[in-house]
Structure formats: structure tokens, C-alpha cells
Symmetry: D2
């Protein structure tokens, strides 16, 4: 046990980790398991929502990216990517950039149009711009048909937009939104000596990922509290069930638990991004933020032997 620069943040309770038999390296007193995260190809789009105030832009963004944690559920994965200052936004107003993700490009387009129609066209003072102007692939935003013939084409600064007369004022939306081949499912696991320690470390990781442009955490608060395995031991009709090997309260009840001794809670951070490098950078910054919290004993990552996807992120290369 050493008193490091963080002072009161005593890096204790970690001595026994090195005895768990896991190979790996130590970062800031935390064992980084020698494993990798497995991720899969997905189409990714980035949409900039501007409004009179940042709060209104954010409100529309939150609604449009809600109920979108996992493509396994049928819809998209989506989340707020980053904030844009008025000085740097497409129309001089505060803005929020959101990301939507799906392996199937057509499904992604449908989700984009439905979510914009239901949650953004209806929101006060907002406008929609292409967040990936350099992307070569595009999807058309066909919301202008809501204008019922009263819509018109115009420009806002350098962007080609449709103007749609609405009750609260004309709504503007850029004609095309860029799409790139990105990556979904980058991930790492955080194991802590108490639930609150693991959770705070997970939330710190998410704060760091938020700062990476081109990477999102699609789950509520950015944190996954229930890891699911494919299939079920008991219920044939369930496609996914709790990963019992990772449940701290089952540790003493099943012979094959993978929960290390002394770990009372585990959380997973799942990251989607516009590129391999953005996901890798997000994993790096997230893991470093996590390890700055005392009481974290181990970082690991999830893979499925190549069944889920073809991209590997080795933790030893990342930290």
C-alpha cells in the first residue's frame, strides 16, 4: 500500500489483485487484464442540432436519442456526442452533436428520419445540420415533405437547407446528412471494492469519453449495469439473459464465477464511434479516468471469440 500523489486516495485493497493469476499490466495501481474488446462494423451518422439556447438544443437531442441503448433491441444506438459553441456552430447558435448507429444503412436512415420527425421537427427553435460534411456517403433527410408544398430551398451560411413553415417558426434542415462506416461495441469493464466506488469510476470514465468527438456511450448515464450473455441456461424463449458469471451476488453460489475476490460491483462502458481510432482513444481516456478513482481493483473487456465482430481492441495496446 503506497500513498501516491493523490494523497487520501489510498491505493489500498489492491495488493491481492496481482495474485489472481491474471496476466496483465498495472495502471495507477489497477490491474489491466490482458484481454481485448470485440467490436463490430456499423454505419454511423452525426447530426448537429442548433437552437436559441444550448438547453433547448440539448432537450431535443436527448429526446431524439432516447430509447436507443442497443441495436439488439431492434432500434438504433444513439447518444449525445459533444457540444458546439455558438462561435463554431453552423448557424451561430449553441449546438449539440448527436450520433446514431446501426449496422444496416437503410435501417439507420429510417431511424434518423423517424427520430428527427418525431423529436426534432416538433421541438422549439431547433435546426438540423450535417455533422459529417466530409463524408462521401449521404442519407437524404426527407422531412421537407412535411412542408406540404410550402417548403422552400435556401442557404444558411454555407449549408443547403430546406425551410419548412411551422407554427412556432420556420424549421430548417440540411438536405443531406453524412454517413461513415464506424464501429460499435468498444467496451471495458470496471470492478470495484464497493458499488459506489465502481459506479463513480464508471461515471468518471463516461465524462472523459464525452470529450472525445466521434465517440458515444449509448446507455443511460453511459454506464451498463446489467451485462447480458447470448442465450439462456433455462429459458429457451430468451435471446439474452444476465451474464451470471459476472454477478457479484452469485460469486459464492456458483462454481465458475468470474468475479474476483473483494469485488462488490462491476460496470461496463460501451463505446460506439465514427472510426477505430476514435473508439480506441475513448477507451484510453475512459480507462485512465477510471483508474484515478481509489478502490478500483481491475479493468477487463468483453469479447465473444469473433462471433460479434471483427475488430479487436487489446487493452495492453490502449493503456
Amino acid at each position: 500500500m503506497t500513498l501516491n500523489n493523490k494523497g487520501s486516495e489510498i491505493k489500498g485493497l489492491t495488493d491481492e489483485i496481482i495474485d489472481t493469476g491474471c496476466k496483465g499490466c498495472i495502471l495507477d495501481g489497477v490491474l489491466i487484464e490482458d484481454t481485448y474488446a470485440e467490436a463490430f462494423d456499423a454505419y454511423v451518422t452525426s447530426i448537429v442540432i442548433t437552437a436559441v439556447t444550448r438547453n433547448l438544443a440539448e432537450t431535443a437531442a436527448i429526446s431524439a436519442t432516447g430509447y436507443a441503448t442497443s441495436v439488439a433491441g431492434g432500434g438504433a444506438e444513439a447518444g449525445i456526442d459533444y457540444h458546439i459553441t455558438p462561435q463554431q456552430s453552423p448557424d451561430g447558435r449553441p449546438a449539440v452533436s448527436i450520433m446514431m448507429v446501426h449496422p444496416n444503412k437503410k435501417h439507420l436512415q429510417e431511424q434518423v428520419i423517424e427520430r428527427l420527425a418525431e423529436c426534432v421537427l416538433t421541438a422549439p427553435t431547433v435546426r438540423v445540420f450535417n455533422g459529417l460534411p466530409n463524408a462521401t456517403e449521404k442519407i437524404k433527410t426527407t422531412l421537407h415533405y412535411f412542408g406540404d408544398g410550402f417548403e422552400y430551398q435556401t442557404k444558411i451560411r454555407d449549408r443547403d437547407v430546406w425551410g419548412i413553415p411551422c407554427m412556432g417558426g420556420d424549421f430548417f434542415i440540411e438536405k443531406e446528412i453524412g454517413v461513415v462506416k464506424g464501429i460499435a461495441g468498444g467496451n471495458f469493464y470496471i470492478m470495484g471494492v464497493t458499488q459506489m466506488t465502481a459506479l463513480t469510476a464508471a461515471l468518471a470514465a463516461v465524462e472523459a469519453v464525452w470529450e472525445i468527438h466521434g465517440a458515444i456511450c449509448s446507455y443511460p448515464a453511459g454506464v451498463v449495469a446489467c451485462d447480458l450473455k447470448f442465450g439462456s441456461l433455462k429459458y429457451d424463449f430468451m435471446k439474452m439473459t444476465t451474464n451470471h458469471l459476472f454477478c457479484p451476488t452469485l460469486r459464492d453460489k456458483i462454481p465458475d464465477s468470474l468475479v474476483p475476490e473483494g469485488v462488490r460491483a462491476m460496470y461496463e462502458i460501451v463505446i460506439d464511434g465514427t472510426s477505430y481510432d476514435n473508439v480506441k482513444k475513448a477507451m484510453h481516456d475512459g480507462i485512465h479516468a477510471t483508474c484515478s478513482i481509489n478502490g478500483i481493483t481491475k479493468i477487463s473487456a468483453g469479447h465473444f471469440g469473433g462471433k460479434l465482430g471483427s475488430h479487436k481492441f487489446y487493452l495492453r495496446d490502449i493503456v
Copy 2:
């Protein structure tokens, strides 16, 4: 122009309203049109989400009620209903009550289960309780199958819950959630002399509705900026398009515009509730909050001649 108790909030620019030929009454200097809101029957459920902190409860609630503005889009209408103090919550922790609404009870149940599985089961430290314990109709929350046989029945205080072992700690969910026949589509329109005036008045209305337990505004920020009419003048394939009669920027371009002179923006507040009385009370409090803002010239409401639903809320009875 008179200087009322509100001082600087000069109730001006309203003199001409009385000349519009509309019948109606005056509330706080604002014309209340003599019309009614038309609303329809819907099943309504109320779900209490608790967590270690209110912020975490709210984060899960926001995700679970996202992308749910209008049943016309296929999904549910949903939103945060109210906050519950630790002292009054089912398990002694801060809580948020959410509402989900759909005319079809089976669809509502599907939405409840899918949204809870995707956005709440996965969220850190949360638990789920029945928000309508006195309702005679119930829907079963079948999330315990995610427990894969490791789930167990227990009690938290007086509630019968399933415990599901998860990575971040055991997840608890009450076995049944109450459902009532409520009402969707209560509404009123706010017309203002500038866009910011109408918007601030709309947001003030939403703040008042938030205080009514059993009533929600499902749109982003609680405000509808784009009123849609059924069908289209021009595009056969569009089920709904902008209500051009209510667009201020079309006022001088079409002969039959319904936008009063001097009105630069209109917003609509749409309210769902567990009962006729709750929706009525929410409309009352929302309209009064709206009329406390200067620069509002007129309040109206939307109806469809009985095509949408059978419930009528006459503004003259409400204010």
C-alpha cells in the same frame, strides 16, 4: 395599455385582440378563445424508478421515455410525471415517476417491457415500482426472465418484487404495474407577439403542468413547435403535414390563414393524463402560467370535429 400589478409586465399589444371577432373571455389580459380541446381514450401506466441519487433515477427515466412524443409515430407517448422524495418513495431512495400512454393495452405492455429492459434494467442502481398501486388492471413486468433462473422473489417494504442478479448489483422490479383508462391529447395553443415571448410562456406552462401528478407533456421540453394536420394538400404519401393555416410566416401568403394579426409564433401544449380531471387541472394551471407572461395575445385549443376522440375540454370551463 394598463400597468397592472406585474409592473413592468405591461399588458400591451393586446388591445387589437378584442377586435378579431372571436368570442371568448379575457384572462389576465389574454383572449381565451371560445373553443375546446378534443382528446381521446388511452391506457396509461405509471412507473416509479428509484436510485441511489435522484440524478441517476432521472437519467434512467429520461432514457426510458425518450423517442416517445406521439402515438401517431407508432410507439408510445411517455414522459416524466413527477419527483418523489426519499421520504415518500417505495424504498426510501429518491425517485422519479414516469408515465407511458397508448390507446392499445397490449401495445402499451410491449412498450413498457421493452423500454424497461433496454433503458432501466441496464441503468446503475435503479429499481422499478408500481406507480398506480390502487389500479385494478395490471400488466406483468416479465423482466425477471433475464435472471436466467437465478432470479428470486422477495419484498422491499410492502412491495412484492423480483430480484435479478446483475453485474452492478441485484436489480429489483415490482411484479405488476397498474394500468388505468386515462386520456391523451388534451391541448391548448399559445400565440405571442414574438417567438421568444410565446416560447417562454409555453415553457412556463410546462413548468406548471409538471407539478400536476398524473399529467405529462410528452414532447421535447413539453412544447410542440410544429402543428401537423392529417393528410396533405400535395403529397399523397404523407399521412400528416404542417398545419399551414397556423404558420405565421405564411400568414400574408395564403388567403385562409388563421394566424391573428401581430402573432409571430404559436406553440401547443399537449397533455396526457391518468384521468379527465387531471388533464383538466393541468390545462387550467398551464393556461394560467402562460397568461402571466406579457406579450401573449391569445389562447386557443385544437379539435377535429370528433374524429380524434370523444373527450372535450372547453376553455371557458377551464380558466
Copy 3:
């Protein structure tokens, strides 16, 4: 170690506490030391700030109660007490009730007037009302002199107010604000096995105290991270210095440390209130919220042998 109803919240690491020799009781697996909090008499005032939106009311309230953690520093102790719905506020708008506290009534009045003049008179759309209308003692709010002769007396509903013409609109302030003899310095200490566990438990306690009308926590986030003792071992010129007996990082370096084994962080909750009963209720609810978090080993309280004040809150009577 037992698995209680909270499931994953394993109440472990507490077995050894009972061996510390402290007398006391056990609440939810946490040792409640058999000691008491010592508090002192203080004048307390309650001021209601209303605004067009709750956010604007809160912004003014935060500014007016900033830099006011401890009367030891010379100024007042102040904080936000509770929120008031538009439906229940003095003028029908969203409101925030703030509390200001000082042992000297004249000093309290000065602080009230200076803080209102600097932070509330200048804030957009706000008004000020008496939050203790039943109090028999009053202080006059003399801000109407800022009106320079243009001020006027009027009523807002049942309240007698001054109207002061201002640039952004007329500012209204009730003529008198009630003052009561209340209590400052109610407190308890939270000891946890990691810093994040102790901190989360402290924040949960503060959330519970927020719900008590007539009780505030004046420190940032409601939590005291640095406990001070009167005087100094080394520096004559310091009136207060760190309470070294309570510092976890000094535990192994000084012979008389009071930090229990296994405790890595301690936080204090300090509570001021309008009455003994309100402070007691806030302590009760705060301690119960704290003990619902796993990894808390002990709750204690601070006293000074009667040097600080005459009021005692025995923990054994509270929990």
C-alpha cells in the same frame, strides 16, 4: 456478512466495527456511535424568490446564498431550502425558498439586505417574498430606497410589496421578512470504506435533508470535506486548523487518531434549521439515507463540551 433486501448492496466489511469498543446501536448494518451533536442558537430567516421560470429563481437564489458556508468566516450561513410550485407560490410563479442564518440579528439583517441588493435586485424577472409570514419578529427590507422616489407601494395577492422601477421591469419586494430563533450546527459524521462510498452516502444524506422544509446544509454540495478544530498545535495565528485526529491519511502516523480501522474517508453534514425539531428531523432522514449505501461503517457526531452551544442532539434518540 448477510445478503439483505438491498441485494447487491452487500452489508459486508462491517463485522469488525462492533469490535471497536464504541457503544452504540446498529442501523441497517451501520454502527451509530452513542454520542451527540452540539448546536447553537441563531437567528434564521426564510426568503422566497419567484421568477418567470424556476431556473431563473434558482440562479438568483444560488448567487444570493453563495460564499456563505460558515459564520466563523464572518458572513452568514445560507443555502437553498426548498422549491415551491407555481401553484403554491405567493405570486403564481415558480419559486425557491432560501434560508440565511446568523447568531446576531443585526448582522443577519445586514447580510439579508446586502445579498438581496447585490444578487436579487439585479437578477432578471425575480421578486422577493417573506418566507416566514407567521413569525412575530421581522426585519425590514429597505431595498425600496433604490427606487429613488419612483418606488411605490402595492399588493401582489395578499402581500404588501414595494415596486421599484428597473431597467428590466419593475422589481417587487415584500416590505418585511420574518425572523425566528432557530438552530445552527446540527451535524453528523459519515465514515466509509472508500472515499467514493463515503461521498455518495454524504450526497444521499443531503438529498434527504433538502426535502425537509426549514433545514439547510450551507456547505458546497451540502458536504464538509475538511473538519476544522479550534486553534492550532503549531500556528498561533490560525483560529482554526484541520482536525488531525479525523484525517484518514494521518491514521498510521499519529498515536491518538480517532479514525477507525478500515475507514478511508469521512464527511460531515452540517444542518441549520428554523427549529430544534426541523434540525432533528433532517438529521434523522439524512442518517437513514446515508445508511442505505453499502460500505458505510460508522456514523458519529461532533460536540465541543458545551463551548459551542447549548443544544444537544443525541444520535440514539434520533435514529
Copy 4:
């Protein structure tokens, strides 16, 4: 009246402005009066507060900069300047940079030390770093005496800090904080056709100023609602009273009102900064953000014929 790119944001009600006889230019349909803001010399310091989460850093920052709107009141002017990502902060954790301002360097130092001792030393998990490492003038942060001899010198990355053992963990503070000669009192006035329009435009201006590193708005929400003049027409004992010439509700009651016809509310944005250029840039971005809101008729600025200070910001040079 023209329909510009902003669509529904009809730039109306502005036609008459050009007839007011004021010289000036038109920006986005808004008259920019040909006048200047007068500002004065002040010492400015910048302090970086880091914490485990951004929210905790912000909470301490808000407390430390509260009750600090105007040096006329005796204390400092202070506010949050900008946020710092974990990736760019001095210790890898989320951070907030605050600014404190006073014409007298010694008073500034006293305010810094008192505010840090009362509001930051006591706040959970925070640390304090020099926000102006390149400044040649420094003030010593003497909080280490609170360590009572247990304090120690160490380094966090490249910063020389004191470590002070505390109850919640060791507190770290950089030994010296940079100070520069900056400017206080940069300002402009916003005049709108309704109170809500002027207020929204003011809040939009503040959002733009927030993005400028090295510039703050010290008033609640960044907006001044009550402009004060030096002295009084009626009350000798008042050093400052409402600027009656700028009160919309007095417009028709006094012969010399400076409120233009049709203006119902005015707000002032006051800006302090680390340099003339930063204040100028903040004024530029703030004015542009303001003018993007419809219903703003005029922008002006305040000066006192050189009595207040020696710095002039001509609006015609800024926009």
C-alpha cells in the same frame, strides 16, 4: 419587413428604429448605437478547480464565486470562466476555471484566500491550481497553514502543491496563483419589444460570452436587470439608485426618459476579462448572439464620461 434566412424569425418591428435619430449601424436588423462602453483597470486572477466529477468541481466553483456581482458592494467580482476537459486539466480530472476580479491587488488576494478557505477547502474531492501559469505576478495561497504542521509539499504532474490532510482526504493546492492587470466593466445594453424577448437575447449573449476563455459575466445568470446610477435624486444616504432614465415603466411619466418607443425591457451584460482583447471579443460575440434573436430593436452601451475608467470599447469597432 423582410424574411431573412432565419425564416420565422421575422425581423419586424424594427422599421421605426432607423427613425429614432440615433446614429449607428445596423447588425442583423438591429440598430447598434454609435456609443462606447467605459471600463476600468482591475486585477484579475484565474483559478482552476478540479474534482472527481465535473459536477463537484462546478458546485465548489459556484459557491466560491457566489455573492460577488459587483466590487461596488465591497467584495470581489467573480464567476465561472470556462470548463476544462479531464484530458486538458492539470491533474487529469474534470475542471472548472473561475475568475476573481478587484481593482486592489491586496483586496483581491484576501478575497481569494477567504473564498478558497470557506468554499473550496471544505468541498469534497476538489483541488486548486493556478489558472494563469504564465502570469509574472503571483499571489501566495496560504491555505497550507490549515494543515497545522501536517501539511507537506509535493508535485502533481508539473505543479508544485501543498498537501493538507483533511477528513475527506488530502486537499491539494498550488502554492502560487497568477494575477494579471485586466479590465472590469465592459458592457452593452439590450433593448427588446417584450421582456421575454430581451431576456432571451440577454441569455443568448451570456452563452456566447461563456465560450470566451478569459471573460466572465459576474451577475446572476450573467444578466443585469436593474441598472444603477451613481447617487440619488432624493435619498442622500444612497450611493447608487435605479437609473430612472432607463426604466420602461417610467417612460411615459418622466420627460427625459431614454427608453426608445416600443421597448418594454432592457438588460445589460457586464463583462470582466483578463485583457482588453478578451473583453472586446466577448462583447463582439455577445452582441452577435443577441442580434440573432427577433424582437431586439437596439444595442447600446454605458459610459460615465471617463469617471469610471479609462478604457473605451466603441460598438462600431466591435460589431
